[in-house]
Point group: C2
Chain length 340, copies 2
């Protein structure tokens, strides 16, 4: 038996069955049973050196790749049913890596009731993981294109923590040029803050429960997941909807851990909150009559949400403070621009 076939057999032995997975890994394609007449479908890729640092353990990577893909479904108000996992594997990869990463991915999907239906392996120069995911919209899908002037703008969680977590992870790996003599070290942070920031980067939480609640109760008029930075993703939502988004500086949450990081490493926590990616929080708009219900969310939404601004007629995304407005649409990561 070839190594690839041994991998598939090991994977099949470890995976739990699921009634709606009619044919699972190991055939030419998987066959799935469908419950809905519409499905939300997405795919997301993590590439070594771009989206994660070299040397990350398999279990973390498989988990994170799934979380990131499911975040796209969360932003549509959809709940995941199935995933496919593709691995590009350098020849230096340990023999047990593909199985470890696949099982971690399957477990993460399983936390939300979703099933690893299949995937693909290829040799590659650098490690990459691609997850395709699909599932059922809870109500009407929440689009990017349907925000309306007069809506309030909300965000979940604490934007910028993941970006600070990446900086901490880079410093720990000796990749940060600012580290060392005259610079900062992660040990200068309170342990609880360092832990929190690293977790925000390495183990993001797809806001599936929030997205489902917003869709079911028709609370959100539009939504996007903040994967590339609050600034650029706000501008994307604004452009898709043909509106202007205004973030009010005084309302933007800057977490204690993010403030600690800025104190130690230098820089402005506001810039990290606006320009760092990898948060996977939901940025969404709410009609005025629903702001009260949204601002005091039940525990089952799984995350705090805050009103941070408003939707106006016009175009673009801006940060507003007592001195006026500045555009923030260029703040963030672009997958076709220069190195991160």
């Amino acid at each position: 038996m070839k190594p690839e076939d041994r991998f598939v057999e090991s994977l099949r032995a470890e995976l739990d069955g699921a009634a709606r997975l009619i044919v699972g890994p190991g055939d030419d394609a998987a066959v799935i049973g469908l419950e809905a007449v519409t499905d939300a479908v997405t795919t997301d890729t993590l590439v070594e050196g771009i989206d994660f640092l070299s040397g990350e353990p398999a279990a973390r990577l498989g988990r994170r790749a799934v979380s990131v893909a499911l975040s796209d479904l969360a932003a549509m108000g959809a709940w995941p049913d199935f995933i496919l996992l593709t691995l590009g594997l350098p020849s230096s990869t340990a023999p047990d890596f593909p199985l470890a990463v696949s099982l971690a991915a399957a477990r993460r999907a399983g936390e939300f009731g979703a099933v690893l239906a299949g995937g693909d392996l290829s040799k590659a120069t650098e490690l990459f993981l691609t997850v395709a995911a699909w599932g059922r919209p809870a109500g009407d899908p929440i689009l990017r294109s349907t925000a309306r002037p007069g809506d309030a703008l909300f965000v979940s969680g604490w934007p910028g923590e993941a970006g600070a977590g990446l900086a901490v992870a880079r410093a720990r790996a000796g990749l940060d040029p600012g580290r060392g003599e005259g610079g900062w070290t992660p040990e200068m942070l309170p342990v609880a803050h360092e832990t929190r920031l690293l977790a925000a980067f390495r183990d993001p939480e797809p806001r599936l429960a929030l997205g489902r609640a917003l869709s079911r109760a028709r609370l959100a008029t539009a939504a996007i997941d903040v994967s590339d930075g609050l600034g650029v993703d706000a501008a994307r939502l604004a452009r898709a909807s043909g509106v202007c988004l205004v973030i009010e500086r005084a309302e933007l949450p800057l977490s204690p851990a993010l403030r600690s990081f800025a104190d130690v490493a230098g820089g402005d926590p506001l810039e990290l909150a606006l320009g760092a990616g990898d948060d996977y929080e939901l940025l969404f708009t709410v009609a005025p009559e629903n702001v009260g219900r949204t601002a005091d969310p039940p525990a089952e939404w799984g995350v705090e949400v805050r009103r941070i601004g408003r939707v106006e007629a016009g175009e673009g995304a801006f940060l507003e403070d007592e001195n006026g407005r500045r555009p923030i649409g260029a703040l963030g990561f672009d997958h076709l621009e220069g190195p991160r």
Copy 2:
């Protein structure tokens, strides 16, 4: 607007709409309308230097990535509805490359009535393309695991031509160490044969019409697409079904172009037919009472099929000639083994 957003806008402007694509590229996820109660789903990856040579034009790559993924659906007897395309892009990639490869992928999918629903972009060190595809089984899905002793073994097309085509492409690119003094050059082949071999490698045809016909008429008891080599893929089908597959040497088709190649480049065309990958032909088994209907296929199947052997009780895959049998399960490509 960021380059990534310009790419998505250009793509949206070029793509035709489709009624069942409720939300297309540009939102967090696509939303698709479904017609069936079951779907076949698969994903396949092409990596530069592994699955294709550097410098291949965008249009060819997008087309081939889709063909290869749809071949998995063909082997299930399924017809494609949607694809997702993920691109890993080196910084040296030309600015118009992502759009060109995406449009080529969308067009190839469109030849079969399928729709590009969305995708993802990432920077990467090497170029890679991952396609996820899904669609409706025409009848019952054709599995790998349901061949029975007494069945006849069939293959479509001319196995080995794609492997020879890869060797020709490598020689043309100056990558073949056997080329030059005392070696062979592609110019030594008849032009029609060189063209045919290169096309077999660069532009494979997913056998969707054949798979659909086999599924609808319940002609095939089991099937696999020959992506890694007839030997290894026959062994996979045998293992999944718990049977022994015997290929009869006298029945295995060796095309005139493949024979030309072996004459010029040296080697045995039989070994190429058994051990070279990338053919994307269908290897399938047929119950005795259906052999007559299968051996004389109608034109709409789109490809010639031939009985090349039989299914017996036992295990493994073998080539049989007047001198006996030899195992062929190790002949072919494995995605976890050493360099190709």
